[in-house]
Subunit: 191 residues, 2 copies
């Protein structure tokens, strides 16, 4: 069976057999148990991950409360890219909310991929664009959107994840208490 | 005199003479008067800009008020990259706060640069990383940081811009009324 990473990469660039071998050498498997952190606030993000199986949440501390701003699932790349690029302390957390199997790649190995793959720089640009567009949309929404809009966005962004994500995480993403989420749901289903 | 765009580009990739000619053909001059918008909320961002001379502000509407989350000055690239990449309506505004001379490049021309320059993809990746790291740091700070921290960040990010940016824009960036900004300043100078 072809690696999911190879399949996903082939959707954005052309891969030679040699390119495939480089990717599979420089991304290594890592297992996380449910509750394990991929990255904790204050740490430097040292890896880019690619989820083969599992589910993660991204969250940030806002006035002492955790605010979830994103989820990641199978075939998603995982990173706090601004910490990874700058080697700076992360102000965000990334935690596995299911047992999760990832392929992870260090900063130095990623640079090697950029220069060794026939279309490595293009791949880097496209993955970077994808990670960042996602992150910035989510953070902007967290800052500006009202709870009901946030809940509609949750349904839109993660239509296949509703059964896998606990209710209190959905509430945190929406930015309300669980009781308020029930009211939002009722209002939307009444309309 | 060498174009600023060429000098800035040479700091991140190697440019042949042919590469320089491609860049100077595909980026074209555009003049904006003080107050003109590079991008208005609701529009699709159709250009990447490079500031040769001038100053811009990025702002977003939060509960009916404008919140400034970033400034751009000479030698900075200018874009709402998520709108530019997705061809989606922007939820952010970019406005010139001085008469501003830019070099601008359309989406199609940017794709041509990626494929035509000897290190076009690498350049694209690095410019993308830079634009996004900046944007995401600023939006995250807007969401999480207390006013005094925001003011310290302003001084850190824009040490050379204090004289060029009107006080009410600095207040908006910090997220307080002008009177409160004076109190923050006094407190910091007393310490």
């Amino acid at each position: 069976m072809q690696s999911q990473l190879i399949s996903a990469t082939k959707q954005i660039i052309h891969l030679t057999k040699n390119d495939e071998n480089i990717l599979l050498k420089l991304f290594v498997h890592k297992h996380f148990s449910k509750g394990d952190y991929f990255l904790k606030e204050g740490q430097v993000c040292k890896f880019v991950g690619f989820i083969e199986k599992g589910l993660i949440r991204y969250f940030i501390n806002k006035d002492g409360e955790d605010a979830i701003y994103n989820f990641g699932k199978e075939n998603d790349f995982v990173c706090n890219y601004e910490s990874f690029l700058d080697h700076s302390a992360s102000n965000k957390n990334i935690q596995c909310i299911e047992d999760t199997l990832m392929l992870v790649c260090s900063y130095d190995n990623l640079q090697e991929i950029y220069t060794s793959l026939s279309e490595g720089q293009k791949w880097g640009r496209l993955v970077c664009e994808n990670l960042f567009v996602n992150a910035i949309k989510q953070i902007t929404s967290l800052y500006t959107a009202a709870p009901e809009k946030r809940y509609r966005e949750f349904l839109e962004f993660y239509p296949d994840l509703q059964q896998r994500i606990p209710q209190y995480y959905i509430s945190s993403y929406v930015g309300v208490k669980p009781q308020s989420l029930s009211r939002i749901r009722k209002r939307l289903s009444d309309n």
